[in-house]
């Protein structure tokens, strides 16, 4: 029916593409398992570039299978790490553009054509990220619980024999509520300011920066509120500055600042929106 229908899985296999590289050395990833067993990772040459690929059982990589896989923490973790491992190993040996998890083709011919069509994007990404690494920065503010109006230390007036509340009780309640609201707003502004301060400082060192989604409170260690989850593209020769910068920011803001890296620049190979 379609062009690829012909090639589709006479042997039930599909081709998983991990990354696109410039002159990768096979030794760099030779020992890695990839995302399946019994099939070696290999190189797929297209024009001047090379993809790192692996032949997989198509039946193990359908959308249905992935939907189930994504509801299993361990399973998803295994695939994500396997993918990341290959990308990182490739990047250690040559300039590399990572592809996201689960990019699959019906065979080498299809993959080569699709990759060739994107050659310019790969070249641009390689150029943009050459000599750079990605560094993740997460900032946490200490959580100071805002008391709810009901839990205020001022005890409610004793119920006076089904009469009206004491004069001014309603006003006091409103004042308390207003106070809580004001504290909450102040805390929110403080968090925003903290995020801006740290982001600006890293932007100064970085060639580019991106905000990632903040982690939901359940994922963050108790007592902390994540106020910044960002990632930066930093030239290799400036990476040494990051440690000192992080230390200085910790000292001036008093906030917890976690830094991770160097990463293969996953977040900076796509087109900048």
């Amino acid at each position: 029916m379609t062009e690829w229908g012909l090639e589709q899985a006479s042997d039930g296999s599909a081709l998983y593409v991990f990354a696109v590289c410039k002159d990768p050395e096979p030794a760099a990833f030779a020992g890695l398992p990839g995302v399946t067993t019994g099939e070696r990772l290999h190189r797929l040459r297209f024009g001047e570039l090379t993809a790192i690929v692996q032949s997989v059982r198509a039946a193990d990589f359908t959308d249905e299978v992935w939907q189930v896989r994504m509801s299993d923490r361990d399973e998803l973790g295994r695939y994500a790490r396997a993918h990341h491992e290959v990308v990182s190993a490739a990047a250690a040996s040559c300039p590399t553009v990572p592809l996201p998890l689960a990019t699959l083709y019906h065979g080498e011919k299809r993959a080569r054509q699709a990759l060739l069509d994107e050659t310019e994007r790969f070249r641009a990404a390689l150029e943009r990220t050459a000599d750079h690494s990605e560094w993740g920065v997460k900032v946490y503010a200490a959580e100071s619980p805002v008391p709810e109006p009901g839990s205020d230390p001022i005890p409610p007036p004793a119920p006076a024999v089904r009469s009206r509340p004491a004069p001014g009780a309603g006003l006091a309640y409103l004042e308390r509520k207003r106070g809580v609201q004001a504290r909450r707003e102040r805390r929110h502004e403080d968090a925003l300011r903290l995020a801006e301060t740290v982001d600006a400082a890293f932007q100064d060192v970085a060639a580019a920066g991106r905000r990632l989604r903040l982690h939901s409170p359940e994922l963050v260690e108790k007592g902390h509120v994540q106020v910044l989850n960002a990632t930066y593209l930093v030239a290799k020769h400036r990476a040494a500055e990051l440690g000192a910068l992080t230390g200085a920011l910790r000292a001036t803001t008093g906030a917890r600042i976690d830094i991770s890296g160097p990463w293969v620049p996953y977040s900076f190979v796509g087109e900048v929106q």
Partner: protein, 111 residues
Amino acid sequence: MTDLDLGRDAYPVPGPQNTNLADILERVLDKGIVIAGDIKIDLLDIELLTIRLRLFVASVDTAKKAGIDWWETDPALSSRAARNSLQDENRELRERLEALESKTDEASDRR
């Protein structure tokens, strides 16, 4: 075409060791150059994953012990749950319909 100026020492070093899964998923799920594959796969984005699975807080077993087992009945995560919720809704609707019909029957009997 001009050759890219990429020396052997120009590549970034591999990712940090012992990275947590959240950091990796944040990058491999929706970053990287996205090109159209032959097989269409809709990966949940990291936000949905973290919200629904609380992936990085606890393993499923630990979560279950703590009584966090809502994903088993989250229709988006379990086809069984989806089926159950449809069946439940169906049953409920049927019951309401029966109740309504019996009421109208009673009403017409009385006339």
